[in-house]
Symmetry: C2
Subunit: 264 residues, 2 copies
């Protein structure tokens, strides 16, 4: 329990939300278009009667989806208890955003700064004909891909590397571009090829640049071990194209056990 300026007793809440990113320019509030954060904060404001600021574990880019983004905000539980708030949010939010879980977090919990690992999944539909039902959630690629070569290439991403060759925005060059990837897997799942990347942080369009490059490996356009050379080059122009956003999902955010603790 923390004290807010107005003397209101505020508790930090931890929400796990899912959204179809198709209609949004991303999670994080910006002037260029509608965001998931804005939708959520608008509803929270309605329910609280004043402005509520939220913190998301990750920005997601325009059109990217979330299966489990963690978001935190401070809340006066006397105004509305947790389970009632969750239901009210789901009743007022548009159908493409849902609060899956909501719980009290440890005081001082910050969804963004306490996040330790983030898991992203990219879904590629790899068969001879597109699927009307998965066009908004996968990248359709015609022509059998070499999954074995993609796996070999993906393994090269694991570890701490400078990801200059896989980041789009040159503005990043001012700060460190070293990121750690602890898992990068390629799996066949029916007619889909799914790429899972787990890292401590990601540069702008980094996962999609990695996926675009792995796809070129799968198509035989570049050898699997070229990933090592690319990482060393730090040159974005040498890597593959950025994969389209509709195949990308933020799956899960991992926290240190102490930060993640949820109060029943």
């Amino acid at each position: 329990m923390e004290k807010a300026s107005g003397g209101i007793q505020e508790t930090t809440l931890k929400a796990t939300i899912a959204y179809d990113g198709g209609a949004y320019v991303g999670w994080q509030r910006q002037i260029s278009g509608m965001t998931v954060q804005q939708r959520l904060e608008d509803v929270l404001k309605q329910l609280a009667g004043r402005i509520v600021t939220t913190h998301g574990a990750s920005r997601t880019d325009q059109g990217v989806h979330a299966l489990g983004l963690v978001v935190g905000w401070k809340w006066d539980l006397k105004r509305m208890p947790v389970e009632q708030l969750r239901r009210a949010l789901n009743g007022l939010l548009p159908a493409d955003i849902r609060v899956l879980k909501l719980a009290r977090a440890k005081a001082g919990f910050n969804a963004r700064f306490d996040a330790k690992w983030k898991l992203y999944r990219y879904r590629i539909l790899n068969r001879d004909v597109a699927d009307p039902f998965r066009r908004a959630g996968t990248w359709f690629i015609f022509g059998k891909m070499d999954v074995k070569a993609m796996r070999k290439a993906a393994a090269c991403f694991v570890g701490k590397h400078h990801f200059g060759a896989f980041a789009v925005n040159p503005g990043y060059e001012r700060t460190s571009m070293v990121r750690e990837i602890r898992r990068c897997l390629v799996r066949s799942k029916g007619d889909e090829i799914q790429i899972e990347v787990e890292g401590n942080a990601f540069l702008y369009k980094m996962v999609r640049s990695m996926v675009g490059t792995l796809v070129e490996v799968g198509m035989g356009k570049r050898p699997a071990d070229s990933i090592r050379t690319l990482l060393v080059s730090r040159d974005r122009r040498q890597a593959g194209k950025t994969a389209p956003p509709q195949g990308l999902y933020l799956v899960k955010v991992f926290y240190r056990r102490s930060a993640a603790r949820v109060i029943p």
Copy 2:
């Protein structure tokens, strides 16, 4: 090979198509709005340079989907061979319609009149929170349902019955309302309850009326064996509400072996 009026050699083709029905008033051409048939015939006309009439195995209602509707039409293979035609169709059709398979059928094959059984699936999402990614493909129902009771109720539909209690349009009363159901199953699949109905033919909104009634059984609003009484009543007002269209899929059309034969 058949002779058309203009002396063109025409072959009957058999297509298996999938579509997301969300944007259409159904399969069958009508003046009230855009249909899947119109989209397909518009593209066929473009490719053939003249009007091509198609026959679908089933009308589907507004907003209902298909995973495998069978459609037939006559085609001059000299103008474009089968595999090339399939690719051209998928290249020109909107992304919510796809031709999965295309093959030469036996002369005289009629997708509609030769159809023997049709399999429909209805998907209910039954958990405590909706899913942004399945809102256009399932019926979300909050509150645990009694699947066992639904199964018992579904079994009552199997056989030849007068389906007056499960058909919306009174215009049907002029013709026979007896239909045969050879399979009606309810299965739990993760957080979904799926209802599969296989019958020789269906009245207008019949599957969705059956589903709406089974859902009321699952919610404990009516006993499982009330289905028998309902069938005998032939009174639509006594059955459950019509389930919404977005959960319904035409899965497969079955033909007599002789009619289904595809020529390689």
